[in-house]
Amino acid sequence: MKILVCISHVPDTTSKINFTNDNTEFDKNGVQFVINPNDEFGLTRAMWFKEKQGASVDVINVGGAETEPTLRKALAIGADAAIRINTNPKDGHQVAIELANVVKENGYDLVIAGRESIDYNGGMVPGMLAEILGANFVANCIGLEVEGDKATAVREMDGGKETVETSLPLVIGGQKGLVEEKDLKIPNMRGIMMARQKPLNVVEPSNPEIFTDSVKFEKPEPKGEITLVDADNVGRLVELLHNEAKVI
């Protein structure tokens, strides 16, 4: 089984979010970039398929050269090869088309993407990619088994979960549950050394038509002061939630 894991290069959760160039661009100054957390679960699950079922695992990112350390980290975790599509994409549709080109050319059976990236949170790339490829698609995937060309997947839904049967080629939007957080793979020294020798191929983009584009960013209004209620006067909280906040 040939697996491709899509890796988003995103600001670490604890990063301060600021904008520059008249609020039109994200200010990367001093920001630490990491593998998107939802993609980490997918990458670890892919490693499981590699170890248990002999799958090959490539990782891919659509981005500029600055994303290469993130791809190298994925190689250090155990991926066999990395691909970087050399463009700074403007929307999910563009990313999906660029990824689809690579999938078609290389014939991957299973594509694992995160359910969403933690920067734009669009959650659109996996579904678009599947539809462009004519592949099956499972969103919010929290469990995946593959036997031959048959797959059983579990997806989280509002108020429960659903188990589905499907087949390869398959794209999933994965998240925590694919593996548990305690099982996430961390690069060790040997992995880091080996990653240096592994191929990181740069592919030029096809530059499809852009459907959506960012105009500007805005930060939320600063939050007002908290209203503290005395622990001995809990009734006051009920009163405030009813009369002031009007939520009960």
Partner: protein, 320 residues
Amino acid sequence: MSVLVYTESDKGTFKKIALETASYAKTVADQLGTTVTAVTINADDTSVLKNYGVNKVLKVSNKDLDTFNAQRYADVITQACNKEGTKVVILSSSADSKYLAPILSVKLNAGYASNVVDAPSSLEPFTVKRTAFTNKAFNFSKIESDVKIVGVSKNSYGLYENSVELTEEDFSPSIPESGVHQKSINKSSDKVSIADAEIVVSGGRGLKGPENWGMIEELAEVLGAATACSKPVSDLGWRPHSEHVGQTGKPVASNLYIAIGISGAIQHLAGINASKVKVVINNDPEAPFFKAADYGIVGDAFEVVPKLIEKLKEFKAQNA
């Protein structure tokens, strides 16, 4: 060329988000000087939609659609759009709509903006305000394709009653084969789900153990709320992962979020930022949650929560 809205239902009855997306669609239709057409799938009575500005319903009744299937549902909506010559499609931000929207986007060759929190700020170019960076910022995005899809965030727009005349038309699209087949479903029917809840009561490690969750459940019951938990609690197995709220868990966009014994790690706050009013109860006055909340009580949860339950019961009795 009406605005088309997909109004979600469950067992024949519209979900509240269906009425919110209809309200949003009406606003967009007014901006564009057109009408609203809703697509309903196996909904029993569609008359409520006229109260929220829907002029026409394309009513789809087909038992092959009893179970949600993203591919099939996207195909139904695509055929409805083609029939109506739709240029703007409005969807909700439920798990189902977020599942089908990207598929629909490719089928219609349409730009899709998800997590939209306000009516379009401009029609030329068509520009919408979305949340970004896990609710730490907003992004204004323009959709430049001919057909546009907008995914409205839950509780961001609200319900607006706006009575209009409603016509209903049976619509029988062709239903394609799907490569994804439901094997089983595990849905908790007796509890309010986090996604649907107006109020969420959430517990953290400060509750010391799963045996103490009774008071969280009781508080949730009094408020008609869903129960949730922080990441360490689900990692410890005290509560199921489906209740884990945060960056790698479920996002919450409720009207009221009550955090009990949760210190407020940045990953947790990222998951609840979209909630309107936040209350924290914690015995550590230095807990970061006190900086993010609107109301707070510094105190022992085991003393405060039972008192709060009692006061809420009194309040409910007086306001029944």
